[in-house]
């Protein structure tokens, strides 16, 4: 990295206690059960950069998103914005100042807007919370500006969320996220609930806003094609770990980790290039009892002895800031 990144996550880990109630444990003579949703995830997001995390369900990508914005306390690891550790920022004032600079956009625009508030109140809420405007006239003006910015009419402010379609609601969510003048947005599957033509509108809007406002994004999605369109760098997650990190173009032109390769092979695509389909065998293992060694080894055609024992580290190889966690790649077997 040349300049210091805007956001840096180091060694993020989150463990959930998924034990049964103590009485059941006592009767069935079972111990506590833990689910390691995220293990040792590190990434950095530079200014005006879009870093994407992709993975199938249960890969821990949403948990990373929630830890990055501070909705969830990491079990271990740190998130720092501009060098300030979010969780160590002892004084509430400092944390407050930090929080203004990052916002989140959620997947479901139907569940993330208060149905009993008018749009203008929803969008004005962060402005009031952070004290970013002097008086109500200024707030009103700013809300109008924001609504225009995301392609809505300032007159829409008096309406309620149910009067809008899914795509328009996601625009409202974006306006709300932008109202505190953030530098960094965490977008957790922002278009998964939308139809393709509406998805295209929102993705284009997000790119325009990035150009105009100099935003940085952490973009979470299960859709590789969407991620490819949006991201500068992509991290592929499998069972709580990043298995490969690469610049977007290179990840798709020359994937290295076996999981990435198989995932790209399996993806249905419009191109219909006639390439041979090779569906990935098997299923994602139970995260409560993950396999020893590399979590992907039971499904991996290149797996050999070390894969069953050692968890591979995410190692940077060659130029271009690429990294992958795979014994087979390291040994040159693939």
């Amino acid at each position: 990295m040349m300049a210091a990144p805007l956001v840096e996550a180091k060694g993020l880990t989150r463990v959930f206690d998924v034990s049964k109630p103590w009485l059941s444990r006592l009767i069935e003579r079972e111990g506590k059960a833990y689910l390691k949703a995220v293990t040792d995830v590190s990434f950095a997001v530079g200014r005006r950069e879009t870093v994407a995390l992709v993975g199938e369900s249960g890969s821990g990508k949403s948990t990373v998103a929630r830890m990055t914005v501070g909705l969830l306390t990491p079990t271990a690891g740190t998130v720092s914005i501009d060098g300030i550790d979010m969780w160590a920022a002892a004084r509430a004032v400092e944390r407050q100042a930090l929080r203004r600079r990052l916002q989140m956009i959620f997947q479901d625009p139907f569940a993330s807007l208060n149905p009993r508030w008018r749009v203008e109140r929803i969008v004005a809420d962060p402005i009031k919370a952070f004290g970013l405007a002097k008086d109500s006239a200024e707030i009103k003006h700013r809300v109008g500006e924001l609504l225009t910015l995301v392609g809505l009419d300032p007159a829409d402010g008096v309406k309620y969320p149910h009067e809008f379609s899914g795509g328009q609601r996601q625009r409202i969510c974006i306006a709300r996220a932008l109202s505190s003048n953030p530098e960094f947005l965490v977008c957790d599957e922002p278009t998964s609930a939308l139809d393709v033509s509406v998805q295209a509108q929102i993705l284009n809007l997000m790119r325009d806003l990035q150009d105009r406002l100099g935003l940085s994004y952490l973009f979470i999605s299960h859709n590789l094609a969407v991620v490819r369109h949006m991201a500068t760098r992509i991290g592929v997650m499998y069972l709580g770990r990043i298995v490969e990190m690469a610049p977007a173009a290179e990840l798709f032109s020359a994937p290295r980790h076996p999981y990435t390769r198989l995932l790209l092979d399996a993806l249905p695509d419009l191109a219909m290039s006639g390439r041979a389909r090779r569906p990935i065998e098997g299923e994602i293992p139970n995260p409560i009892a993950p396999p020893d060694g590399c979590a992907f080894h039971p499904r991996c055609p290149w797996a050999f002895e070390p894969c069953k024992v050692d968890v591979p580290d995410l190692i940077e190889r060659g130029a271009g800031a690429r990294a992958e966690a795979c014994h087979a790649v390291e040994a040159g077997r693939t």
Binding site: E56, Q201, H222, N223, R228, F252, L263, L267, L270, M272
Partner: protein
Amino acid sequence: MSEPVLSVRDLEVAFPTRRRTLTAVDRVSFDIAAGEVLGVVGESGAGKSLTGAAVIGLLEPPGRIMGGEVRLKGRRIDNLPPEEMRKLRGARIGMVFQDPLTSLNPLYRIGDQIIETIRTHARVTEAQARERAIALLQEAGIQGARARIDSYPHEFSGGMRQRVVLALALCAEPDLLIADEPTTALDVSIQAQIIALLKRLCRERGTAMMLITHDMGVIAETADRVAVMYAGRIAEIGPVRDVVHHPHHPYTKGLMGAIPTLGPLAERLVQIPGTMPRLDAIPRGCAFHPRCGFAFDRCRVERPEAMPAGKSKAACWLVAQNVPENVAGAPA
């Protein structure tokens, strides 16, 4: 050409309300031949699932068929009494829905559910039905089917459950399989397995399949022909390669450009302005004209019927006018 397995002509599905009747499927016509996969795509509210439900007689009241006809191997089935239709479903028509959990009874072992279905439609003994159930599960890609046949649905993962549902749908050797978003609830790696399976089973058995999905990628991989629906009507129908790579209808063009692909990277996705009209506000003439960059006077008053466009058929007046390809590029 032999007779198509499924033939739908001018199908109309409507919801009568107190004030007016809302037409959700509007004069839809298509055929599916034996062993052929017809993909039906569209955005939410396009009427694709309703079309599927109407074909199998599973419309939820107050929705009902207001016109047109549905023929299965030449026999008219849209006007059958409910009891006869019920026998026909399961025996001649198999169904796979999005959520495999809702298609399986959580209180019964999967084996019992398949055996019951087999014995409803064929005169076989319990033991024979069980052997057949095991064979079906194996064919659907469940390893160790003999050991797993006595498991309950909750003991399977999502992908495995969908395989069970598929085995269930195919156990009476149906002529037609209706699959409504069969892979939408599944992860990419599992999705590819199920698609490959669906395709193989239909080809081997000569089953006609109507594959309803919003995912154009799945259609491109699976279907032989595709029907693109918009506001309850078929905008374009034709061989999948032609519709995807050389669409004629402006809506299809916009839709294809709007989908991020793994092919050459587009700087910007094509954007179709606006959204699909609500059922109570479908515009006069061509339903797409308010969002169409090429609409002219005729589009606003007269509804276009499907007309030949290359190897496909498109319901668009531009096609009738024979506007050259480059002029009819995707709207900005």
